[in-house]
Symmetry: C2
Subunit: 341 residues, 2 copies
């Protein structure tokens, strides 16, 4: 029988931490105009990416990000045991059609915008449990596909409140492996679905903040760590208002993370880019983690990062039936090689 | 480092097979009128299940099936490490709202109608890898919620071709555990997304059959087994036409499964029930596995079953954009206690 690798209530502590041996990231033009532009593998100017629909463009972005991750690791599709992916589109079509093209055995996930971190957590378990040598994990989002599925037709040009966020157009993918060089995943804290009654589809930061705070607090309790044990604590896409709420909720729980905390949705755009509260979407935490965070870890400027993928479980159907929007957050600890020694 | 538990290209062989210690199943009236009626925990006559919408009724069914599984095992929510679930509704709302109610750390999955077997495969890995002691896995579907989301308004009374299937109204859940008594999961074969160009949303059996055949053939190759090693080979929801196609495709690959092969979508209704080709939906394989198959295994009438959850990755959006419908199949081997000794 395999030795237990769970600590506390919700946290996995990997006895042999899986290695992130390669990443691939593809973003749209707005993300390419932002402050993290230099950390992405490819910037695509055309929102259609040469395809007939935005959905097909998003799918091509996910495909390209996965091919890029394979290429950078000098691997082929058949070197990968399993592919784990999900996205925001109904029936996760970006992921399933990419899996059709790649032909890798596929497990579909849905964690809304938390999907990148969900896939890292599950992928790390598959490797840590001896079920795979290499796993390809990824996700994608696209401003135009998300906006028209979840809110209004893009062409309508609806006025957006300041709490609204801008769905990142981009895809990020990672190859996790049993062996190799790169940052490692040491812990994963699986989140609970938390609902504090937020029901405004234009304020997802507030819907996700309680779940993010719940998972972060649980991570500290399970591991016995404090905010000071991390060089950086970063949430996926809470943006300005959600970040502030998360800090406040964690203060109420006795944790002050403010000195080392930021959010991918805040980092990805500059203040002058008219994105209201900041970035959001599956692609947001994916491309920032695959790009900027990997640079920080690979250069050993930061040695230990707590990343929390955050998802608003928004459904236009349940919203119309009077439901509120629950949130979820999955946390993963990524460490640079040096820290591991 | 954990010892490898993967064999061949796509198959996991569990060194310490996780135990199915409890199941819960709730079905609608049509399923309650079928030949397997006596194997379900609860039959609900009202399609609304006392709720205001069919979506809320489906959610209540999943919740009830999970509570039933907990109750039969004499366990509480906090005895469960993780919950794994998914369903057919956009943003898997049946699952996420059930996870909100139960408060168990949650991983959302999407494998269309293959979700029950996907959750068993992932759940078994979480236990087999030492990441959890107990996992709650489940799924649900509802004829009325699926029909109006994927095809036409139910009230429209659209004429259905004979290849059409009837989405099972029902939810099934299982508790997998490191220890306990019950049938065990010995293998899982993770499927690839396969597309042979089927694009008719009223003929999902044909869309799924190539994926089912691919996974079954791969399972035999990876394990070195033959159809004769199983008392029963059962697919999730291929129904009459899909079953026939799967048999033919496997004959072309050199495997004759016809003597021991059936499909959950064929078993769940009788010929006189006017369901056209048979049953379908996430709930189909879930309730047949939780009910009838568990009875076969617990009574040791059958000792080793190869079950294949089959999913048609149907999306009304991609269909409208000219795409075909890919399929996927995930296989799990379930053995009775006696066989294990």
């Amino acid at each position: 029988m395999t030795a237990p690798q769970k600590i506390g209530m919700q946290t996995i502590a990997f006895q042999s931490p899986p290695v992130i041996i390669s990443t691939g990231s593809v973003v749209g033009s707005r993300e390419g105009d932002g402050p993290l532009a230099g950390t992405f593998d490819k910037v695509v100017a055309d929102t259609y990416y040469g395809e007939k629909t935005w959905e097909k463009a998003e799918q091509r972005m996910m495909f390209d990000s996965m091919k890029k991750a394979l290429q950078k690791a000098n691997l082929q599709e058949n070197d990968i045991d399993f592919m784990l992916a999900g996205d925001l589109l109904n029936q996760i079509i970006s992921s399933t059609f990419t899996a059709r093209s790649l032909g890798i055995p596929f497990l579909g996930l849905y964690g809304a915008c938390s999907t990148m971190y969900e896939s890292l957590a599950v992928g790390a378990m598959m490797i840590g449990g001896g079920f795979a040598d290499r796993v390809l994990a990824g996700t994608s989002s696209h401003y135009c596909t998300a906006e028209r599925q979840y809110r209004f037709p893009v062409e309508q040009g609806t006025q957006r409140p300041m709490t609204a966020q801008w769905t990142v157009t981009g895809a990020g993918s990672m190859i996790l492996a049993k062996e190799g060089s790169g940052p490692v995943i040491t812990h994963a804290t699986i989140g609970r679905v938390i609902d504090m009654g937020q029901g405004d589809s234009q304020d997802m930061g507030a819907a996700m903040a309680p779940a993010a705070a719940d998972t972060i607090a649980r991570h500290f309790m399970d591991t016995g760590r404090t905010p000071e044990d991390y060089d950086l604590i970063i949430t996926g896409d809470l943006a300005t208002y959600g970040k502030r709420l998360t800090e406040e909720l964690l203060k109420q729980k006795g944790y002050d993370i403010s000195k080392r905390y930021t959010d991918c949705g805040i980092l990805i755009y500059s203040g002058s880019q008219d994105v209201h509260a900041g970035g959001s979407g599956c692609g947001c935490s994916a491309v920032v983690t695959c790009g900027y965070l990997m640079e920080l870890l690979n250069s050993e400027r930061y040695r230990r990062i707590l990343g929390i993928g955050t998802g608003a479980l928004l459904s236009s159907c349940s919203l119309q039936q009077g439901e509120t929007v629950p949130g979820i957050g999955h946390a993963v600890v990524i460490e640079s090689l040096k820290e591991r020694k």
